[in-house]
Amino acid sequence: MRLTERYSLIQILTVFILTVAVFMVLFILIDAASNLDEFLENRVSWMVLGRYYLNYIPYVLTESACLAAVIAVMLVFSNMHQNFEIIALRASGLNFWQISRPALGFAVLIGAVVLWLNDRVVPQAMMHTRTIKEHHIKKTPSPKKQKDIIHNLTFYGLDNRLYFVDTYDPNTQQLEHITVIAFKTPSADQKEAAVIQEKITALSGQWTGIAWKFRNVRITQFVRDPTPRTVVRFYREKLMDIRETPQDFLKQRLDVRLMNFQELKDYIARFANSGATGAINSLKVDLYQKAALPLRTLGLVLFCLPFAMSGTVRRAASFINLGLALLAGFLYYGCEAIALAFGKGGLLPPLVAVMTAPVIFLGAAGVVIAQRFE
């Protein structure tokens, strides 16, 4: 690494860490101030509070890292410009890309870190936060050291099946009052979304270790050929052809927003044959958005850098550039929010919706760089 690159990178990193620290303090402060009476009322210990906020930190980091990176880059490079260091570098033969390499590399690195955190750490951390809040802060009653009994468990499972379970006890792996509706995969030319093929109701179910055993089972098959008719069968006990295991049942509680990339991809794959194109579109937007997160930092940094590195040297340049970074951030987030909303609403294809804001800002950055530096 060149000396100049190391020099600017160290400064960028320092400002970035301090900016993120400020955001974290504010986030935690606002949360603590809002929930203080609950903490005191339920006598929450320092250990629990510490764990709660420790699990909150990855989420805050992913939310604030992008803007903090932009601020850091803008401050450092505008300072360098004010001190005529940029002019000196350009006079020595370095072009825009060579001078901004540390900033762009930093932006890519931050984007990658945010991507990794968002996929691997944040979902689990947010689950822990919720659990801590429910059981240790709000003190919702639950058996100690046991998993909660889940009420009204609903999910879209494999083989186009809708599951509704009145109660599921993960400790005994027992289900109560189960309803499963299986839909037939529609063909491409079928207009209707799905056709009910089979309905299974059972009073209880138990995991045997290899399969689910349902008791007092009624299986209703909706036959259409040659004549539409309903065939009903009763069983006292029956081993069911259900591929989901107890662990899968537990996982289904996950909010789509708390799924990582692979879980969301699997969920979409399960859903793909349902014909519910609207819902699939919305999920695809979420999926592609997870993968496109690094582009946000890169797009903003590349857009703002030319402004920090050029223009008249003014005393208040740092503040003006900070203001510009803020404005650019707002525009980017606004553009992204609208495009994603259009994507979820089916007005734009999912990939186009996700790529709209990065493409606009990267394109605008290209134009500005060409105008000011080439």
């Binding site: 301090l18 203080l36 005191l40 503040f319 707002f330």
Partner: protein, 365 residues
């Protein structure tokens, strides 16, 4: 001196404004996604959402304004120190105390502004935000219908709809959990048409070509099945009526807090949370002037160090003050210290420490 005063204030206002805008905007940006989704996909009135957005701003400013005061102070004096203007002023006989005067005046002004915000605006904004958040689903109950997800927003029903086009629903499944451990009733329909009834917080659905069945709890081998061509079902939004939302102490103005305290005291009811909140609103309102009193000597002496060190100083002062305030609030709520009055302890401590620091820098000539 007037020119110097004007000049210093001008140097301060820009970084203060940027810091305030920046800190507040960071929190607002995350909100944009939700707003865009509600407007574009849920059909919720943009004006209502904009009002909600606007109500959120004063709540944030209540937290970010004191930090912005500190940040502006350190940034302004870093620049002045870097250009040796501070040395020039001191050489000309302008004492640090004289330099501080315009900032103290500004701090007092900002404290009065924050007092007005904390006692009048923020409580109302907080309350209105809560009401509108609860109302979001009620003003347009149809916005709660979403294809491909399990909808649990209606009393006693869980819905799953494969596809929605305008007001038409395709392949609808409705689960109706029954009380007392009875088996769930399931309704399945090929098609449905809905009509929102926002005045009643309901949606009327006309289900077509479907069946409803329910197992006989007494004899699981039997079940009741009803095939229908059309069936009407009413979905009631699972919400309390917003007008019954009780105001928390945070959502009460100063006058409301005082009235409530008097009312409860006359009935010999414990008023600790209300008294604590009243003192918190007042004490926190003076944080701008406290930060200037404490931050000024630190900013003046720290200007020689790097900007990063100054940011650390600013953070340390801010965090220290707010941690102390939270601790004081906790002690007050627990009645382990004089209820309410303990919340002034951080201000008093900062005043004493700031006084000592200011005396130190003025002593050095």
């Amino acid at each position: 001196m007037r020119i110097v005063r004007q000049y210093l204030l001008n140097e301060y206002l820009a970084p203060f404004g940027i810091a305030l805008g920046f800190l507040t905007s960071v929190f607002l940006m995350g909100y944009l996604f939700q707003l865009a989704h509600w407007v574009i996909n849920k059909g919720i009135d943009a004006r209502s959402l904009l009002v909600m957005f606007v109500y959120y701003i004063p709540v944030l400013v209540g937290y970010t304004l004191p930090f912005a005061v500190l940040a502006g102070l350190f940034m302004a004096f870093h620049r002045l120190g870097h250009d040796n203007e501070l040395i020039a002023l001191r050489t000309a006989g302008v004492s640090p105390l004289k330099l501080m005067q315009p900032f103290l005046a500004l701090g007092l002004l900002l404290s009065l502004l924050l007092l007005w915000l904390n006692t009048q605006i923020i409580p109302e904004a907080y309350h209105q935000q809560k009401i509108r958040q609860k109302n979001l689903g009620l003003s347009n109950p149809a916005a709660l219908l979403e294809a491909g997800v399990f909808i649990k927003d209606f009393e006693g029903q869980i819905l799953f709809i494969h596809r929605i086009e305008d007001n038409l629903l395709y392949d609808v499944t409705i689960y109706q959990p029954q009380p007392e451990g009875r088996p769930t009733r399931t309704i399945v329909a090929r098609m449905g048409e809905f009509v929102p009834l926002p005045d009643k917080n309901q949606i009327l659905i006309k289900l077509m070509d479907g069946a409803s069945d329910e197992v006989d709890a007494a004899n699981p081998n039997n079940f009741y099945k009803l095939d229908f061509k059309t069936m009407f079902i009413t979905l009631t939004v699972n919400q309390n009526r917003p007008q019954t939302v009780n105001k928390k102490p945070k959502a009460m103005s100063l006058r409301e807090l005082q009235d409530e305290i008097h009312h409860l005291e006359s009935r010999l009811v414990d008023t600790t949370p209300l008294v604590t909140e009243l003192h918190r609103k007042l004490a926190w309102s003076f944080s701008p002037i406290v930060f200037i009193w404490l931050g000024f000597p630190l900013a003046v002496t720290a200007h020689r160090r790097s900007r990063q060190t100054q940011i650390v100083w600013a953070l340390a002062v801010g965090i220290g003050y707010y941690l102390a305030s939270l601790a004081a609030e906790g002690l007050s709520l627990e009645k382990k210290a004089p209820v309410g009055w303990i919340l002034w302890a951080p201000n008093l401590t900062a005043f004493v420490v700031g006084g000592w620091l200011n005396w130190s820098i003025n002593r050095r000539r």
